[in-house]
Amino acid sequence: MMKDLIAKLKKHYKLTEPDYRRADLTFVTAQKDELRSLLIALRDIEGFTHLVLLTAVDWLEEGLFQLTYMLNNRAANRTLALRVMIPRANAVGDTIHDLWPTAETYQRELREMFGIDFPGSPRVNDEFILEGWTDMPPYRRDFDSLAYSLQTYRERPGRVTHDPREHMKKALYPDQKPEAAK
């Protein structure tokens, strides 16, 4: 069923080779400029009326954000996840709050946690979870949560650990590590 649907969609839209993860779950990458029309077609014609989730994946190394729009056809028990790749720099997505009002919440969160803007989405710049956050959007891969916590919170004093291998070397053969004679 999913194969037929993808074949049908491919006639009108540019889609990459899909990943048929399970019989009821397919991932496919779509073009950003075709997303809206694709979502409407899926919702209104193909029965994918349920927006399961909308979230982002940060492919830092590739300089891309992946937006995942997961849609579900409840009657047929099929889930189709559309990936849209957008550049990380000045990341902007197209708002879909008018298609699914609940998308407003997702887009607000993406704005706050990933720094992806959705112009036109209601209250998109309102604080969602974070209050008074001044650092970079924290769910970006380059936000180092460990460094942040080390710098923000105090480590409990007096904690020291030992690596078994190094500890044994120090105790048993401190100078014997053979290295090519110099």
Partner: protein
């Protein structure tokens, strides 16, 4: 300034050119009122910022962020086994769904087949978790209505189920029992008998709840016809679970997309038709009885013996090939799911938790609030069965 809003709508905020209500606090006609984050009618740490006109609410905004721990980010720094102790903490009252969804997602991407008995055990645990979650819900909704005694009874019954969780999993709240690859152990000896005692006690107390709550004139007056969700809103607002079933949508993932061993169990999808607070509570009340029946059924049908753990790679350097998947199930609140993205390394690239409260308590609640009475906001919120940690994972 005194006026009767019911008869004199002239004082009610009027729509502006963009169709939105114009609320000018300077006029002195409106009052900002914070419900929560510390309020008996709030099931967890969130708050609703209400704008009221008289005793009618004209606008509401949900505020979360009181317990954000950045779980999804935290998980990206953990190896696949190290994520396991974290996931349950995303949802206190029904933690097992997180364990199941995460484990199943990892198993799928890593190509691990779970032994049959483990699937039965998982189903059992999920139903026990659902039961407990509903206990918290009944306690919550009765608390929101000032019916404290039901809350006390439900806390007691939940505690008895926690005893069973404790003997089965080794912990009361965060069970950490559903490990990627299976579950950590078999049923203890005599477990079914002790479970039966709990279920009987539960049934006894639920009969009392029936009398005290469902046959209570005040309760009926305050829940019937109140907080109605138009079924047309279900799809646009992503409404799932009992909230949708109370509006006549017979959708239950246990039936529609059977996972674990649900296709081997007999049960019916509980629905209602009025889509008001009363029906939503009623659907859940019937679902509790169904959970009780399912627990009995599972204990009776499950294989008596067999392995509960598949062979898994050395967890200390477990790497999973690049891929992504989504695992979902029917939690007590609706569709619960884990979206897992892997990149071939020893750490998840991204984990996104899809909790039903995310849609129910944000956009939907904000949509439902205008026009309600201040005193009804609490039970309206609770009737959506919200667990704030799902919103701010």
């Amino acid at each position: 300034m005194m006026f009767n809003l019911k008869t004199d709508r002239s004082q009610y905020p009027q729509p502006g050119p963009d169709g939105k209500l114009e609320i000018d606090l300077e006029t002195g006609k409106y009052l900002k009122l914070w419900q929560g984050p510390n309020h008996p009618g709030i099931t967890g740490n969130m708050s609703v910022e209400l704008t009221v006109c008289g005793d009618e609410v004209v606008a509401g905004k949900t505020h979360v962020g009181y317990l954000h721990r950045g779980f999804e980010k935290l998980m990206e720094r953990r190896s696949f086994i190290q994520v396991f102790p974290i996931v349950c903490r995303v949802c206190v009252p029904e933690p097992d769904f997180n364990e199941y969804c995460y484990a199943a997602a990892v198993e799928e991407l890593a190509g691990i087949k779970v032994p049959e008995l483990a699937n039965w055990m998982r189903t059992l645990i999920l139903e026990m978790g659902r039961f407990n979650s509903y206990m918290m819900f009944l306690g919550g909704i009765s608390g929101a209505l000032g019916l404290g005694v039901v809350g006390q009874w439900m806390t007691y019954v939940r505690d008895l189920m926690l005893d069973r969780f404790e003997e089965l999993t080794g912990a009361r709240i965060y069970h950490m029992f559903i490990l990627p690859g299976g579950v950590r152990g078999h049923l203890p000896d005599g477990f079914a008998g002790r479970m039966e005692e709990v279920l009987r006690t539960a049934e006894k107390y639920l009969a009392d709840v029936e009398k005290v709550m469902f046959r209570n004139a005040v309760y009926k007056r305050r829940t019937k016809g109140i907080g109605v969700i138009d079924p047309k809103l279900f799809e646009p607002y992503g409404v799932t679970g009992p909230n949708a079933r109370a509006g006549g949508v017979a959708k239950d993932l246990r039936k529609d997309a059977p996972y674990l061993v649900y296709n081997e169990l007999d049960f019916e999808v509980q629905t209602g038709k009025d889509s008001d607070i009363h029906t939503r509570v009623d659907v859940r009340y019937r679902d509790i009885h169904q959970s009780i029946a399912l627990i009995r059924q599972i204990l009776q049908k499950m294989p008596k013996d067999g392995p509960v753990m598949a062979k898994i790679p050395n967890v200390l350097h477990w790497q999973i090939p690049r891929g992504e998947t989504y695992i979902k199930g029917e939690s007590s609140r609706g569709e619960y799911g884990y979206y897992l993205v892997t990149d071939g390394s020893g750490y998840p690239r991204r984990i996104n938790v899809r909790g039903p409260s995310y849609t129910h308590a944000m956009a939907l609640l904000e949509h439902l609030i205008p026009g309600t009475n201040i005193s009804d906001v609490a039970q309206l919120m609770v009737s959506l069965h919200t667990y704030p940690p799902e919103i701010e994972r």
